[in-house]
Symmetry: C2
Subunit: 458 residues, 2 copies
Amino acid sequence: MEAKSHLDRQEIAALTAEAWSEQLATVEEAEARSMLAQVEPDRLAEVIRLLDAALAGRVVGLLQPERAAAVLSHLPDETAAAVLGHPAVERAAEVVQELDPDDAADIVAEMDAPQRDALLDASGDAGDVIEGLLDFPEDTAGGLMTPEVLAVRRQWTVGEAIDAIRRRAEELEQIYYTYVVDSDDVLIGVVTMRDLILAPPMVLIDDVTRKEVVSVFVDTDQESVAEVISRLNLLAVPVVDHKGRLVGIVTVDDVIDVIHAEASEDIQRLVGAGADERTDSPFSYALRMRLPWLLVNLATAFAAASVVGLFQSTIAKLTLLAVYMPIVSGQGGNTGAQTMAVVIRGLALGQVPVGQGRRVILRELGLGVVNGVAVGAVTAVIAQLASGRPGLGVVIGAAMVLNMAMACAFGALIPLGLRRAGLDPAQASSIFLTTVTDIVGFGAFLGLAAAALRMGWI
Amino acid sequence: MEAKSHLDRQEIAALTAEAWSEQLATVEEAEARSMLAQVEPDRLAEVIRLLDAALAGRVVGLLQPERAAAVLSHLPDETAAAVLGHPAVERAAEVVQELDPDDAADIVAEMDAPQRDALLDASGDAGDVIEGLLDFPEDTAGGLMTPEVLAVRRQWTVGEAIDAIRRRAEELEQIYYTYVVDSDDVLIGVVTMRDLILAPPMVLIDDVTRKEVVSVFVDTDQESVAEVISRLNLLAVPVVDHKGRLVGIVTVDDVIDVIHAEASEDIQRLVGAGADERTDSPFSYALRMRLPWLLVNLATAFAAASVVGLFQSTIAKLTLLAVYMPIVSGQGGNTGAQTMAVVIRGLALGQVPVGQGRRVILRELGLGVVNGVAVGAVTAVIAQLASGRPGLGVVIGAAMVLNMAMACAFGALIPLGLRRAGLDPAQASSIFLTTVTDIVGFGAFLGLAAAALRMGWI
């Protein structure tokens, strides 16, 4: 997503929201309708997010049910639920009937029970379908799927199957895969629209069925569903219960958000926050995820501090060392974090084949040395000018080159080692890295300084 | 993606690769073929990545061209190119003819020019199509698209369109959208398979065409293409040249990798590495991306160090302060990084609507206080026991609560502020955060310690 164009859209949405807040209160209904008719549903959704719920409800109430449904499907579920609570229940039910049942279920799941029950009652058959979906946890195949799936029998002809698709095309979320079931509704294969179009109408479905169909269980977690769809390049995957019976279908657009969320988890794992933590997760959950890693880190911080402890007498001779000490360790931490981010992402995107780890470590070691020389030289000159002690400049420069080289090597080694050990390469990696950069940074700087002081060079 | 099941697959692939390296050299061709026939293409690809290129080439040469193409489409482009260089050129050409042209173009782009030319020459018409695609940069719509797209005219009937699809179904990558063009090949609309199936065969295409078709230009960058497909829940998007003429199509499976790569960029931006940097990017590119931020960070590190400089006389009185100082600043940095990771990802996933920033900052401030009290108490007890100075425990505990609270508040404030300013919330955020946690950490700890020393409490 281009950050800049995204912001431009947000700015446009903000200006529109401001204008509407004034105008919609005063203009006549017909005029309001014609204003709204000119805006695409995804743009409308961006504006509606910024309106207060009552006004947003009014806007959605003014739209045709089909357009209102398209707008709601672009909103976060909680927002859509709040908005849908405002129009009269009959009006809201018309919108619900136009939504895909899986989207509708996610939205009404955010309403309180009496409001939800009233709305589903008013929504007729669609309400019953949605009610059935509410039993599945939101983060499973059952929670993602739509139950509106066309199943045909193997003894049907291709012509009969096409007729069945034609009759139900309006309500089906996708018509590209048609699933084949036996007399117990057990999934036995799939026919694609391409197969149907290519085959003469009198051929039996059995003769064009692909038997090696991939399916997921209703309770398969959403990450695995997304992984199957993206690895096998599918447009949809059928969902079966534990008796193998076809109960629904998950389409690729349902898992794009899951792929987005999954792909960006490493940034949180890296620093020891929960992979699934959100800005609106319960406070206690956030605490439970984060505190243990902070305590692990505390232990490693004491280990690093004990290195400083070894050099107390050196610091007593020259307290200026305490001033420069954090610069050396901090720059190691920063350059190592850059390496680690690139390597962790590289592993996640499959850029580092097994056996290529050594090459990556050497490359990063090289980057660490070059960056270390550049940053160390600048620091050495500043330290020397500021302190008037040439020896101090040399010591700090040398310590930085050493620490930054180690930082980059370990920034690559830690995630690669975690992967080789069968662990998650990102999990709290930054904590291990900081331990290395603190210990090496403090040790190298203070050790060199102690030696230089003994020699009388500083 | 489940890390664990992924690793299991990798382990299986590694074992298989080992076994094959021995067996395939000795068994007869027929036996080798039947061994390979039992393995699914995506599994085969995982094994082939681990074989040396010559053996991998032999394996691919043994497969039927259609299966070989399926295997290659699961490999990274460079690997696929190396593998395809091994069989005889006529054999390789058969495989190329089975590949989707967009995938084939990505693969042959990795070969050296003489090898590529020989292979494309041997591939007949398919070779010409692929050659045309090589003109487009890989990271644009032109580089992602396949040129094999079916266009129909508005004056055709639905029946004629279906016949045309049937004739070309084998070679078309998707048949769900059929595009409508005028006599100059300019894109004017789209008909879905659903529209075609529902309409009587004698109806004119013009009557079922959707005119509000969304398209991208050949030179639109791949991030924007992915964004359009994912925002509008499309299965494919048509690609037009700057005269509006239909030249190809990008399907959703082509952009899933782009979505993956895009969604995980923030981890690199956060630490000031280039968003697009890979583990195999040129050394000079990595250096150019990373060094400037390290130098920015150096300036902020000197600012933090100057805070320590203010307290040199305090440190001279009690050098133990230099030992505990990095623990206070470091724990602030860690807890702040946790906050920052959750907030940056929350912004990227749209979890933080405009106007909700204050709520997020307060929540994080609360987390910082609670984590600070927990971690600060543990540290205070250890510091007191280790140093025998109760006052030092109190000072360090108090400084940690303060610093960790500030760290979390700023961990939220910095990315939210960057977003509000229209900047990228992730760009080098961690550098600004470290500045805050170092300055507050050193200042609070050494300031409190100086006061306590004056009072005789330590």
